[in-house]
Symmetry: C3
Subunit: 351 residues, 3 copies
């Protein structure tokens, strides 16, 4: 019998199954330096210990999406090695900052199963969680993937599709303990716009673009210990319908979020992932642009509000055109990501 991991196929998953994922990772300032080098992130709270301390934190945490990618990466060998498509995310929450020196591990529970009518694939819904070395949950999210069956004749499981919220309720958002905006310095943060300056329905083009190189997305995806083969193996990919290595969808989320600093510089911490769809594949050489729409606004406490933001990533198309869907509801061919998240933002300028 082979000792290599060929991943789980659809019939290997059972409702309620708990999966402990391999390879805990101790993160450090090096991971944050990689994140900056890969995406150009400039949110001050993640960039400088001094700025984070001025907001009541012990030091700069690791970027929220970096922690997400690490937690996500660990789930790949068990959940999505045989995935045909990553269909969606929901009910994601960041529960606790991750600091240099923390060790992250992941586990998942199967919360839904639905075989497709073709009998060859099925959809698996998992609830995944990331933990630190103290056993505290640092984040959780649901995702669902379409997975191949190993044996097309295997019987279909009972169909269970979980009820998933359209968006995380504002009352469920977790503001990091001790965080305040009493000494928030907009000049250092790089933006003069606060909670009260935004309005629901407002759309913001983030102007700048980033062209992706093979070495960049490969290094990123390996740093996250994500083992999905399609990102790394050109010799195998050349015979697929794309003929190319596919870029990890999370790479696009991070690029788009980093680009969105230009217009949302004070929307500094991601609190929740409401939904996310990788609308089209991306490849090395594509230039990624982004625009955002404010979907909702909620007060969190005296110091902070939350913006619910639709973040749209485009490839090789002008973000000022705010492209999304045509009149029939089909995505514009340039749209590669339609992502919905909550971000924390100070309520008003203190100085």
């Amino acid at each position: 019998m082979s000792k290599t991991n060929d991943g789980n196929f659809f019939e290997d998953f059972a409702l309620g199954q708990e999966i402990i994922h391999a390879t805990p990772l101790t993160v450090s300032g090096a991971d944050q330096a990689f994140y900056t080098a890969l995406y150009g992130s400039r949110y001050a709270v993640y960039s400088a210990d001094t700025f984070a301390q001025s907001m009541g934190l012990p030091g700069a945490p690791l970027e929220d999406l970096l922690a997400f990618h690490v937690v996500f990466g660990k789930t790949v060998p068990d959940i999505s090695l045989n995935a045909v498509a990553n269909l969606g995310y929901a009910e994601g929450r960041f529960l606790q900052p991750v600091y240099p020196g923390d060790t992250l591990s992941s586990s998942s529970q199967v919360i839904g199963l639905k075989e497709n009518s073709n009998g060859k694939t099925g959809v698996v819904y998992v609830r995944s969680s990331g933990f630190n070395q103290h056993g505290k949950k640092v984040m959780e999210y649901t995702r669902w993937v379409m997975v191949n069956k190993r044996d097309h004749g295997a019987p279909a499981p009972e169909t269970v599709v979980p009820q998933l919220a359209q968006a995380v309720s504002a009352s469920d958002l977790v503001v990091p303990e001790g965080l305040h905006a009493k000494n928030y310095q907009p000049a250092l943060a790089g933006s003069d716009y606060f909670f009260g300056d935004y309005e629901i329905g407002e759309k913001i083009s983030h102007v700048d673009g980033m062209t992706i190189e093979e070495a960049e997305h490969q290094m990123a995806t390996r740093l996250f210990q994500n083992t999905a083969k399609v990102h790394f193996d050109q010799h195998a990919q050349k015979d697929t319908r794309f003929g190319r290595r596919l870029i990890y969808g999370g790479h696009i989320i991070s690029l788009a979020r980093a680009l969105s600093f230009n217009g949302l510089g004070n929307a500094c911490m991601m609190l929740a992932i409401n939904a996310g769809r990788h609308v089209a594949p991306t490849f090395a050489g594509d230039t990624i642009y982004a625009w955002s729409e404010i979907l909702d606004m909620q007060e969190l406490n005296n110091d902070f509000g939350a913006l619910r933001i639709r973040l749209v990533a485009l490839k090789n198309a002008n973000p000022n055109d705010l492209l999304l869907k045509d009149e029939d509801g089909a995505y514009d061919p340039s749209v590669v990501l339609d992502f919905d998240y909550w971000a924390l933002i100070p309520k008003d300028k203190k100085q």
Copy 2:
């Protein structure tokens, strides 16, 4: 009104204006590891805690030019987002070593303004400074850039062009506190040549070459949180006269300086930047070579002298040919950088 930063245009600058730049950065050994991975630097004092300690420092500081790039990067969104050209550097001094854990921030003062006769652009002179978390100035430098006007009809400011020194005076060079050469080990440093072994007028070909990849210069420039669009956006750049992403000029300075280890291995710390000109653009695929000329020599104290070095970077041309200018004073087409700096070097071999 747009919430995105479109940068300052020529008419937005006022003489004497002070600008606090955004995004302080806590640097770490990871930044130094990136520096080594990107440029192949081998100066022992920056490479090993033990070697730095043998010279009287608490541990290995971050490479001087790495600190420069970080400080410089912060100035870009305010100073040079609408720059047509980075014209020059002068009066740069390294005042204090930067250590892992330090948080760097930057500010600039406008010290000169001169509208060009075409009425479409002007030259802005700024004096920029980098500070650590204790508020101590770690470096300062002057640069001048040609910046677009937003409104060609905007009135020209009074012309003020600062007097800039040809070179930093040797008496203004700052030797890091406590630094000595009592236990300096040439075998570990990798060079047998000391202050007294060089002479004014001496030229040294640094022999080796480094070919630049897109992923490398993009990662470097993002690590420095430098947001200049021309380095990252191939989709936009394809319609420019170059058709390519331009490489950050500082990337070339660092490559050339790292190459110059081979011949100047004991000229281990940069003390000042006297002048610098990015003579021609570089692109991915170019191979960078370097040669140096000793312009001046000054004793600093019992242990150290300073070499004033012209560092010339070439693309795709043999450094042994020491190419610089033709008989009419025009730069050879292979010259991409003409840089003038002071470096500290131990006076003589101790063992």
Copy 3:
């Protein structure tokens, strides 16, 4: 006289000569993050402090091969700058884990010399050692390289060819002090196969492939402060018989070893390098695959055994075919590495 290092030529080496190599390096978690980003390594003991601590170590050491590359890199300017070929490795042992904060330095002794009959080159055998800042030897290995003569008329030295063991004896393998498997968690390690599950002669295809990019191998090789010109200088390489930059052989060892996690996930620490041959050059764009053969098995103590593993790396060829040599003993054209090492593996599942 030139101040640049043109490296040692064959006639510069003398039997018994001791060479202290330049540029000690303080390693950190950043180096390990790079290693993960470059190779996708997932051995839990190197990935997580918590996992390493569960095995009795103070924290996660740096990956064994990362320490090897750093020690090796320092030898290049003295030993192999004028090498025509890196012929082999033998008698390599990892003697002590390397931790973040350690400073590594290297030295070598010339243990054999043999001029080739053409009078233009010779083979140099060196015994190289790596030390930490406490002067403790962390590893040692022998390698032999073919080096050019500077002066073809220089007299040949007496031929001395050292006796080298076919493999390190199991009794000479060093298990890190305090290491145990009492709390070893296979779910976190990512493999259910232990010492007793393998058998001599067993062959394992590691299935996955990694395509190499120029930026990746250049950054890796510079991180290791390896100065061999052929890896970096496309302008010079375009006129060689390959026309391309050559990839550092150690890059292939690390890629193959990381790929071999899939099938050997619990063979978590490399204890010895018995032999190694870079059978054919590799270039950017090549996709590397790997397969392994269990050559020997030895018990080490109550908790651990050792697997002697032949690790074969292929380029652009299916590892399931287990390609090695044809019936005449010639390597298959797809084979790029034939490597022989000992790895430590827990004896049996504890939970």
